[in-house]
């Protein structure tokens, strides 16, 4: 089986430990897998063995949640070293992280916290992305996060911040369609304005997931539900603008059985097929 260095422009699923066995036994027809890098930072044992077994059958993307790129703390050399070791071993098609911070004064909040969208934060992030890209010897993708507040200090619209980060650092963009929708509701902006501000050539991956709408007018990005109807709608718009981009269906809490997860991923494939868009 060929291990293409590129992800196919189809839908992949997030690799979660509850599905290891079912995936390895049934080898379902899915485009690719995305693993959370930190889940494979251990020295040995079952997680790395499963990843290596599944890697032999599927293209892989490594998605980090703990580097705290936007923090004003120093980057953790230990974290970077483990990430590099993983990247060298598994040769993923894509490596991604988030436009966020998650620690300050060496204390971790272990949450994808939004940055103030300022020139200062942008310059800081550009410099950090530069560092990580040269450390890993490859391009990384940065993902837009969902957020429940915005800072009074912000001076740049989020979409301009994301676009400018990519232009200045040369990083790719992992565009989370659900997060754009969640933020559009939470902060009252137009999701299509956001899409249209993002440079076409920078987007190399989409994320889709389900949110929790039981908190009144603030949507919570829980990855615990099927993808919401308006997000499918926005996804179709994104396909029209960016072409067929590898798309990931994420599900991290109340995770369904594998067939249900795959069925949800298939919806993304069928929307793409109906629109008949070409690969980006």
């Amino acid at each position: 089986m060929s291990l293409s260095p590129h992800l196919p422009a189809t839908t992949g699923i997030g690799l979660r430990s509850v599905h290891y066995r079912a995936l390895a036994e049934s080898l379902p027809d899915i485009g690719w897998l995305e693993a959370h890098s930190e889940n494979y930072f251990g020295a040995g044992g079952a997680p790395l063995r499963w990843l290596s077994q599944l890697r032999a059958h599927y293209p892989l993307s490594l998605h980090g949640v703990g580097l705290s790129l936007g923090s004003s703390d120093e980057l953790s050399q230990k974290h970077l070293a483990k990430l590099k070791q993983l990247v060298d071993r598994f040769q993923p098609a894509l490596v991604s992280e988030h436009i966020c911070w998650s620690s300050i004064n060496q204390r971790f909040l272990n949450e994808l916290l939004p940055l103030p969208y300022t020139e200062e934060a942008l310059a800081h992030l550009v410099q950090r992305v530069d560092y990580v890209q040269s450390y890993l010897g490859r391009q990384i993708l940065l993902e837009n996060v969902s957020s429940y507040l915005s800072f009074a200090a912000s001076t740049i619209p989020e979409w301009e911040f994301v676009a400018e980060l990519s232009r200045r650092s040369g990083c790719g963009i992992l565009l989370d369609i659900n997060n754009i929708y969640v933020n559009a509701i939470n902060h009252g902006f137009d999701a299509e304005t956001y899409l249209n501000a993002i440079p076409r050539e920078a987007v190399q991956e989409f994320h889709l997931a389900g949110f929790d709408d039981s908190h009144g007018d603030i949507l919570i990005d829980t990855h615990s539900r099927p993808v919401a109807e308006p997000v499918w709608h926005l996804y179709a718009k994104a396909l029209q603008r960016f072409g067929a981009v590898p798309t990931l269906l994420e599900w991290d809490a109340d995770i369904p059985e594998l067939p249900e997860l795959i069925a949800e991923a298939r919806k993304a494939d069928s929307i793409r097929e109906q629109l008949n868009v070409l690969a980006a």
């Binding site: 020295a43 044992g45 079952a46 953790s76 300050i104 272990n110 200062e120 507040l149 009074a152």
Partner: protein, 252 residues
């Protein structure tokens, strides 16, 4: 100091201490928005602890566990972006947490679960190279030092924590009552291939492995074992721990 740094520091202070102090920094000064973050931060940390300490959670119930996890998050900061490293000193925290004082075996149960967690993620090991060992001339045997499997951990408890741990596994069938008067246990936690085992040892075997783990030469380790268990069959004991991959390397 940069304003990014100040903002991040102020946000963290709001999360851990004083939520209202940060209200002027957020766009519509809606307190709920900060509360959502506080809940998700504490929720993520509690989930990470619950994943590592399922038996502790079962013993105290989810509500108590969540409250304990919240207090732990406040007192023992997370120091890594990798949540698998979070919770290393949870047992010590529990031992000092007055509301848990009624369950004296809880800290050792937590220690056992932390050993299990570390063993699960430890480096893979291969069997001790017996043909190499056979080449060591007999006059040098007493100076041999053995290396333990990277997953191996030794745990002593004055409570029957192996039994407590076993009856609280989801696949356990049988008598669920544990008699605390069963007394002390000497345990070895070890991963064989991908399965983590929790094995009860005799006091002599435990002392032997403890001395070997401290890099004492085999002669001194045997002496330490016989001092606490004169009738211990050292040959059988060493063979067993070579066969089951407790001992995976040696040096002279």
């Amino acid at each position: 100091m940069s304003s990014l740094h100040e903002l991040q520091q102020g946000f963290a202070h709001a999360m851990w201490a004083d939520l209202d102090s940060f209200l002027p920094e957020i766009a519509d000064q809606d307190r709920r928005r900060l509360e959502i973050y506080r809940n998700t931060v504490l929720g993520t940390l509690a989930d990470a602890l619950a994943a590592i300490y399922p038996v502790v959670q079962k013993l105290v119930g989810e509500r108590f566990f969540r409250a304990m996890a919240k207090e732990y998050a406040n007192q023992c900061p997370s120091s890594s972006g990798d949540l698998h490293e979070y919770g290393a000193d949870f047992a010590e925290f529990i031992a000092q947490f007055p509301p848990a004082g009624g369950l004296p075996y809880l800290p050792d149960t937590a220690r056992l679960e932390w050993c299990w967690h570390c063993a699960f993620h430890a480096e893979d090991a291969t069997a001790l190279p017996l043909t190499e060992l056979a080449k060591v001339p007999p006059e040098r045997w007493e100076n041999l030092r053995f290396q333990l499997n990277p997953s191996a951990a030794l745990l002593y408890s004055c409570y029957p924590v192996q039994q407590i741990w076993a009856v609280n596994q989801s696949d356990y069938q049988g008598e669920a009552q544990v008699d605390l008067a069963q007394g002390e246990v000497y345990l070895l936690i070890l991963r064989q291939a991908e399965a983590v085992i929790v094995q009860a040892l005799s006091v002599g075997s435990y002392s032997l492995l403890q001395a070997l783990q401290a890099q004492q030469p085999v002669a001194a380790a045997c002496e330490a074992a016989l001092a606490v268990e004169p009738e211990l069959d050292l040959n059988t004991c060493l063979q067993q721990h070579v066969q089951q991959l407790t001992l995976t390397g040696f040096s002279l």
